[in-house]
């Protein structure tokens, strides 16, 4: 890898919903590693079996797909807050979660937390914090889109009740209204840079100008909705163009995510700095990403 090329991590990307074009563009923009948090898929699953297959897919074939573009792929494993409201499903998922959460490349329990702040969401949020403590994994918190401020405060209160250190908790989907409290209480504050709705690039740059980059993490949260897989790289470029220091951009768009999720012991810079090259002649369980007569890309390693 050349010295001038930027390196970014996208610590929140639902790649299972994205195309190979996105992987190609992300790699070209400097994404060297990404984290795929387990979440719902736009409509609720109704069977634990489909949940198992989903978790297997993000841990398996999705990691392979990423590798075919030279991107290291990690996961967080969890029961999301929306599906926590289906008690029969939720209980069955909780029974299988430890098996998946203990696998290689799982860097946190997440994304977990609140959606509508119901009793069931609360019960499974707490149970999964306990699981994270047992497995010595960080926690990725999805703060609710509705009643966000109160929900964010409550999420941190619950973490403290369960005695997990703020340094082990990444609070995601922050905005101007939540950042002060999240940083003051010692948590990692992540921001999903999402076109038009959650947090745009310009707003993110303004926040970096006001708050600096200590414990600030930028991610794309790209998924099945209108979202931008290049959000981390584009935000970094916009920040640099607007006078944010290269050190601050490095922290927010690379180093902080590595420090936070690296606490899992499952994510190290050597994973990509000393990675073998891309070999698209590989296949995963007999499945190649190549179609038709396409010429496979083969490169030498990056070290």
């Amino acid at each position: 890898m050349s010295a001038t090329r930027p390196m970014y991590i996208d610590p929140h990307a639902h790649m299972i919903s994205r195309t190979t074009d996105d992987y190609e563009a992300m790699a070209a923009a400097g994404i060297v590693a990404l984290i795929e948090p387990a979440f719902w898929q736009g409509q609720p699953r109704t069977h634990v079996a489909t949940y198992e297959d989903y978790l297997s897919a993000i841990l398996g074939f999705e990691r392979f797909r990423a590798s075919q573009f030279g991107i290291r792929h990690y996961c967080t494993i969890g029961l999301n807050s929306k599906e926590a409201n289906d008690e029969a499903l939720a209980q069955a998922v909780m029974d299988i979660l430890p098996r998946f959460a203990a696998k290689d490349g799982v860097v946190a329990i997440g994304e977990i937390g609140y959606d509508e702040q119901t009793e069931l969401e609360d019960r499974y949020f707490r149970a999964q914090i306990e699981l994270a403590k047992e497995l010595e994994l960080p926690v990725l918190i999805h703060t609710p889109h509705r009643d966000k401020k109160a929900g964010t405060t409550r999420s941190m209160d619950v973490c403290e009740e369960h005695g997990i250190a703020p340094s082990m908790v990444i609070v995601d989907h922050n905005n101007e209204e939540t950042i002060d409290e999240v940083l003051d209480r010692g948590y990692w504050a992540a921001f999903s840079v999402y076109p038009s709705t959650k947090m745009g690039k310009e707003r993110m740059v303004r926040l970096m100008q006001s708050y600096g980059a200590e414990r600030v993490i930028v991610d794309s949260a790209c998924d099945w909705g209108i979202s931008e897989p290049l959000a981390v790289a584009r935000t970094a470029e916009l920040a640099l163009a607007n006078g944010v220091s290269a050190d601050a951009v490095h922290l927010a768009c690379y180093a902080n995510a590595l420090a936070a999720y690296g606490q899992s012991g499952q994510m190290n810079a050597s994973d990509w700095l000393q990675a073998p090259g891309i070999d698209q002649r590989d296949s995963y369980a007999g499945n190649s990403i190549l179609r038709g007569e396409r010429e496979p890309v083969v490169t030498s390693g990056s070290s």
Binding site: G42, T46, D86, D147, E176, E177, G225
Partner: protein, 252 residues
Amino acid sequence: MAPRKMGRDALKLTSTEKDQAEALVPGWRAKHLRIDEAARLVILLAGLDHEPDTLTRLIRHADVDEQCAIYRGLCLLPDDTATVDVVHDVVGRGLRTHATPVFESIAHDNPWTATHFDEHRWNHLVLKAMFMEVALWPIKGFDERRNPELSRMALDFAAERRAADRALPDELFRCVAPYATLDQVERYLPNSNSSDGERWPDTATTRAVSLSLIEAEDAALREYVATHSPHVDAIASGSLEWSNHSSDTDRN
């Protein structure tokens, strides 16, 4: 099958039939049903037969149109405890949707939610409607179910939108009208930075703000709206109401 056999036209009710429907289930507007939805509800009601779990199975396998038909007919379902428990579950599932038609089939012209939801679920229904940019005024029982916590949530939401430099939902002020003071909402009102006494322009937003706040509990807030709104007379005369506030052609 229902649309193939019945078509998708509106269910054309006579005015007597509309009155009968309203008398039987107040607030439920049968006139909004399509003929295929009505057919699906007839089949559902005939087949449910004290086995509420059937409903769970049907919803799991239902496409968007089928879900909408079932949700529009909630208040026709039996009201025994076992059924109501199952309905709570399937309604919760429906409200977690991102599909606007499904959400609206539960939220709009559907008295079931106002009579069955506790305050927490009610508030989240309203908040999600604003998030999805779904109208509040067709939500039955809205005014009666307002509460201080909903007002607090709406004010937090307004602060969040303002911090993001995004517009507020036009109807947000309906949530706060019985509780908020002028001090709390003035910064969100149209032209709050312009000189005193200037009238608001005539837009869908100022019509919604006026309808929301004309009867605000706080006297100073009421007075402020009376001074700034160009719609006071239209509201008093009944020519401006929620059902026509967002459309210029329907009014006058």
